[in-house]
């Protein structure tokens, strides 16, 4: 116990010693504002972004919860059974509405109707849409968004019909219809009803049912009657209530009051109490469901997942903030070299100096956390719309700051500050006293850089790419089995490894890179160019620290924007490959030729017909016949579809009688080669089906394609990775298939699809509406529409918007960082600049030194950053959809895209940084010579 007390006392003494520095540390941080700002700026910017993101997530939590609850059939819904034919629905509804916390309640019943027909005669197809008896004052969620004309409040003995269904049976408002209960072939009971309302479905429902074909819209058809008419209607239809019937209901509660997305326990408790009250009202026989509780359970995971996702997405900003913080701390320690040397001459130990500097860093971290939270609140207003994966709008004034966010931000700030300060503190405390009194400590002249880690990062990255390439091509054996999917698991992080490793290697491994680039400054700085060159070469550490921040920021930005643009272009390409052209029309009647009508539609520039041929090949391959000229004019297939990349050759093969194109899968798996012969055959039969003979046509494999756009069986042509006969396809020209196209042979050719090319500037919406209005048009797919739908995904838009904000913030970090570092460096070099001015340089010339040095460092960072960013993005695109052999991949290749917004970043970011450098240099140009020389060594 004695020993342990000694030990404890030693710990306490050590703690008191360290804490004894606390007032000194705190006062240094709070009184030296400029130095503190320079030290904490990087970490401050990083925690500001993280704080802003978390606050935005918290503030939009209610909107996110509401979005996740969208589409539920009531906050509570219930079913109960009754055998009472005179059930008092009004009393039940009133009791529900009176229950505390309930804001709306809806009761409805399903009405069993076999079909509804026009009173003047049967409709095209007898059909019975789902029919509900409702209270128009409290309609169920099924009718949410439905527009009723004139209203849902139906007169007695009337019915509301969905518009397309009403059109199909030829009735309108005020017309008579008959509801039928067809008991059997001979017995039917009817009720005469008047059409009291026409119902238009909400536009958000999948109304991509553009034809009048009943089988298309019937799934969305419905009918309604008033709940008060249910007794009469069932009597007319001879439907009996004596065996029991189901009453359904939906209850909506005051969510703002009872549902708190930040306090799951309290919310669950409130919901349980409400549920108990509702159960009492509906009775023990009723079945009540709480639709909020299970989603609320999942919601806290959703929020946690959001925080984690966006924190991971924020890593580039955090990383840059760390680098900038390290430079800022280094500068602040350098400024205090002499002061710390004096401390040591007065007896402070190395450990005490380190402890002091770390303590200051922690105090600085607390300041950064406080300021970061305040700045984060402002930033969160810009992030509100991009952190919500459901796309639910959040009011601008919505603001929530949770304890979790405050703790997370404070923890992050302190940890980051301590981390960035540790190495610099150790280095500063280790400098010999006599050297720290000099103008430049020797450490400034060397980079003190060990490339081991970065060489390892780059090696792992490149090795992974090689392994992925090898694994994808190598047949499965022991080695590939042992390797497994590890290379593919690492694939997503390889770009990060390469970006960090390469930028550090190129900016820090040698000072020569600054010498080479400094020649670019010669035209601007003229006679003082050699000072820049010497400065950069002999003081490479600080230059490297700035250059790497610029390079990392630009590399991340260029990489991210390029990958996003490449992915978006790939998606468009996939959609276009699937549809085949600007528009694809599937006929409802494959016999009727729609070419002339489609061609005459305003906005249509060309039409081509794709025919599926019912011919035998001796293989399980599909055969399609195309008109080469119109197909290539409309579909405009790109070179990559063709194995030899030659579009013209592909056209010529199809145009030449007796030659065909085959799919790569067919060629490989059937062991075919160019020049091989295939035999197409079909039976000739008369109208009675009697076999008259066989038509045969020998063809030659003239070319190979991965597939032809728009030709196949719809989206399944893009069924990835399936290596069976399904992708075996033969493409022929009309000339080759002429023997099989004789109408006398029957329907060997089925028009599978029409591909349509829109005229330049044509509005696809207008053209689509005109095409849909044509008779015998089954369905229409538009490339532009599907691309729009993909890009409208709330999640995609949220992530893209967040990344856009992040890149803008990266530019802020780069500009603030370069400005800060230059400013601090200029302060350190005031005497040097003053001496140069005293020896005959003008203020402007001396300021050019600063701008010239900044220009060179920015150029180094820009070149390396953009080069690494483009390079990693380019190589990453080749492996974006890669998986081990046998794993499905897209048949559409990725083509690298360097988007305009990346170009904007590359131009604007350096411009902003140069502006910051220029502003700093203005101070140098107006330096007070006498004061500087007097105070600092004149």
């Amino acid at each position: 116990m004695f020993l342990s007390r000694l030990y404890v006392n030693r710990i306490l003494r050590r703690g008191r010693n360290r804490l004894g520095f606390l007032p000194y540390a705190a006062s240094d941080v709070l009184r030296n504002r400029r130095r503190t700002v320079s030290a904490i700026l990087g970490v401050l910017l990083a925690v500001t972004f993280v704080a802003g993101t978390f606050i935005a997530i918290d503030s939009s939590a209610r909107a996110t919860l509401d979005a996740s609850l969208a589409g539920i059939p009531g906050d509570f819904n219930f079913y109960l059974y009754s055998t009472n034919s005179s059930y008092n629905y009004s009393a039940l509804e009133a009791a529900l509405l009176d229950s505390p916390g309930v804001v709306d309640a809806s009761l409805y019943r399903y009405v069993p109707i076999t079909w509804i027909e026009n009173a003047t005669g049967p409709g095209v197809v007898p059909y019975g849409p789902p029919t509900y008896a409702i209270d128009p004052a409290h309609p169920p969620s099924t009718l949410s968004g439905v527009a009723a004309s004139p209203s849902l409040d139906l007169p007695p003995h009337s019915i509301g019909l969905q518009k397309d269904f009403a059109d199909s049976i030829g009735v309108g408002l005020g017309d008579r219809v008959v509801a039928v209960n067809q008991v059997n072939a001979t017995i039917r009971w009817t009720a005469n009803l008047t059409v009291g309302a026409i119902l238009e479905m909400p536009s958000t429902l999948p109304q991509s049912c553009p034809t009048r074909s009943p089988s298309c819209f019937f799934p969305f058809a419905l009918a309604i009657v008033n709940l008060r008419d249910i007794g009469w209607l069932l009597t007319q239809l001879k439907e009996s209530d004596t065996y029991g019937y189901q009453i359904a209901g939906e209850v909506w509660i005051d969510r703002a009051h009872y549902v708190n997305p930040y306090d799951s326990d309290a919310t669950q408790r409130s919901l349980l109490r409400i549920q108990r009250r509702l159960q009492e009202i509906i009775g023990p026989g009723g079945s009540l469901n709480n639709n909020i509780a299970p989603r609320l359970q999942a919601f806290s995971n959703v929020l946690a997942g959001e925080r984690l996702l966006y924190l991971l997405l924020s890593m580039p900003v955090v990383l840059l903030g760390i680098y900038l913080g390290a430079v800022g701390v280094d500068l602040s320690h350098a400024e205090r070299r002499r002061e710390l040397a004096v401390l040591k001459t007065r007896g402070a130990r190395r450990g005490q100096v380190i402890g002091l500097l770390i303590l200051e860093a922690i105090v600085g971290g607390l300041v950064a956390a406080g300021v970061g939270l305040v700045a984060g609140v402002i930033l969160s207003r810009f992030l509100l719309d991009v952190v919500n994966p459901y796309g639910a709008p959040t009011p601008y004034e919505s603001f929530i700051l949770t304890p979790n966010t405050v703790i997370a931000v404070a923890f992050l700030a302190i940890v980051l500050m301590a981390t960035v300060a540790y190495r610099s503190a150790k280095r500063t405390a280790s400098l010999p006293i006599v050297e720290t009194l000099g103008y430049y400590a020797p450490g400034e002249t060397k980079i003190l850089y060990s490339p081991k880690v970065d060489v390892a990062l780059v090696t792992v990255g490149i090795a992974d790419y090689i392994l992925v390439w090898w694994r994808g091509t190598a047949p499965t054996d022991l080695w590939t089995f042992l390797l497994g999917i590890v290379p593919f698991l690492l694939l997503p992080i390889v770009p990060l490894l390469l970006i960090v490793g390469l930028t550090r290697l190129l900016t820090r491994s040698t000072g020569k890179v600054y010498d080479w680039f400094s020649r670019a400054a010669k035209p601007f700085t003229k006679e003082l160019y050699y000072i820049i060159r010497r400065n950069l070469m002999r003081n490479p550490r600080r230059s490297a620290n700035v250059a790497i921040i610029i390079a990392l920021g630009l590399a991340f930005g260029v990489f991210t924007l390029s990958i996003i643009a490449t992915n978006a272009a790939h998606l468009e390409r996939e959609i276009r490959a699937d549809i085949g052209a600007d528009m694809a029309v599937t006929p409802a009647n494959p016999v009727k030729d729609l070419t002339a009508n489609l061609s005459a539609t305003p906005g249509v520039a060309g039409v081509t017909k794709i025919r599926a041929m019912s011919v035998s090949l001796g293989y399980s391959a599909s055969v399609y016949a195309l008109d080469p000229d119109s197909y290539f004019a409309v579909a405009q297939p790109e070179g990559w579809y063709f194995a030899d990349g030659n579009v013209a050759h592909g056209h010529d093969v199809l145009a030449k009688n007796g030659q065909v194109l085959v799919s790569q899968a067919f060629l490989d798996q059937a062991a075919l080669e160019i020049g091989d012969r295939l035999t197409l055959s079909a039976d000739r039969r008369d109208n009675n089906g009697t076999l008259l003979g066989t038509i045969q046509e020998n063809v030659t494999v003239g070319g190979v394609v991965s597939f032809l756009p728009g030709v196949g069986t719809g989206p399944s042509i893009l069924f990835r990775g399936y290596s069976g006969p399904y992708q075996w396809t033969v493409y022929t020209g009309l000339g080759t298939m002429q023997p099989f196209l004789d109408p006398a042979l029957g329907n060997l050719a089925t028009v599978y699809r029409y591909l349509v090319d829109l005229a330049p500037g044509a509005d696809w919406r207008t053209v689509k509406a005109a095409v849909v209005a044509e008779e015998d048009v089954g369905s229409v797919a538009v490339t532009a529409e599907e691309v729009e739908a993909q890009n409208a995904s709330p999640f995609v838009r949220a992530i893209a918007g967040f990344i856009g904000m992040e890149i803008a913030f990266i530019v802020v970090i780069l500009t603030a960082g370069v400005g800060l570092i230059l400013y601090a460096a200029s302060l350190e070099r005031d005497v040097e600049f003053a001496a140069i001015i005293a020896r005959g340089s003008s203020g402007r010339q001396t300021a050019q030194l600063l701008v010239g040095e900044a220009f060179v460092i920015i150029l180094v960072g820009l070149s390396i950053g953009v080069g690494v960013g483009i390079g990693t993005a380019f190589f990453a695109t080749h492996w974006l959809a890669t998986g081990p052999a046998g794993v499905a991949t897209s048949p559409v290749p990725y083509f690298f895209v360097f988007p305009w917004d990346a170009l904007l970043l590359v131009l604007l970011a350096p411009g902003a940084m140069l502006l910051a450098a220029f502003l700093v240099s203005v101070r140098t140009a107006h330096i007070n010579l006498a004061k500087v020389l007097k105070l600092r060594g004149g």
Partner: protein
């Protein structure tokens, strides 16, 4: 050769609400070819006087005439030219550019004056030989002793062959022997190259090289002594 005359020279430093009057109407004259020492206690205005003579600072009031031109009337670009061509400044703490070698430091004012490479090289070599630093020309300031740095600083000041040299405590950071060497150098510059030199110094040995010693007290010339030189 310059004649220097100051008349009612006043310099007031303002820092916030406080004022420090460094010079209170100082009158002095320096003839061409003279070597003048300026002495006085700390804070008496010696360095301020030098800064004003060197065009590094502007007076609050009064005149500074160099060869008939009033420095006060010069524009900023004219003042730059004055510093580049008419005066060479030598500092107590040398103030060499630390990342340049000795010979590059010497070339700096010549580059600012847009001299060609061959002219620069010739002049540089002459100056380095003059101060005895030819063998150490390729070394950076942190590789040189204090005396060597000061010699280089003197070469820098002479680079564009200014007629006037201003030295602020040139031996303040040097040991006795080295300081003597520097003072000897000043005498050579004055006697052989006919440079007009104004030296601010506490070093008593300056009396052996100066023509006159001006005593400054409280921003004014208290008196002057004819020295032994």
């Amino acid at each position: 050769m310059p004649n220097i005359a100051t008349k009612d020279l006043i310099k007031v430093y303002r820092a916030g609400k406080s004022e420090v009057i460094a010079l209170r109407g100082l009158d002095m004259q320096v003839s061409d070819g003279e070597l003048i020492a300026v002495q006085g206690p700390s804070g008496c205005g010696k360095t301020t006087l030098l800064n004003l003579l060197g065009g590094i600072d502007r007076p609050t009031a009064g005149r500074i005439e160099v060869d008939g031109s009033n420095l006060v009337d010069l524009s900023d670009p004219e003042l730059v030219r004055y510093r580049l061509q008419k005066v060479g400044f030598i500092f107590q703490f040398f103030n060499l550019v630390p990342t340049l070698t000795a010979e590059e430091n010497v070339e700096l004012p010549m580059r600012l004056a847009r001299k060609g490479p061959s002219g620069r090289a010739k002049r540089r070599n002459e100056l380095l030989e003059l101060v005895g630093m030819t063998k150490r020309a390729g070394h950076r300031p942190d590789e040189l002793s204090g005396g060597e740095q000061q010699r280089i600083a003197i070469s820098v000041a002479l680079a564009n062959d200014p007629p006037l040299l201003l030295a602020d405590e040139p031996t303040g950071e040097l040991d006795t022997k080295t300081g003597q060497e520097i003072l000897d150098l000043f005498r050579r510059l004055n006697q052989e190259l006919r440079k007009t030199i104004v030296v601010v110094t506490h070093d008593a040995r300056v009396s052996h090289i100066a023509h006159r010693i001006l005593e400054i007290r409280d921003g004014k010339i208290l008196g002057e002594t004819a020295a032994a030189a």
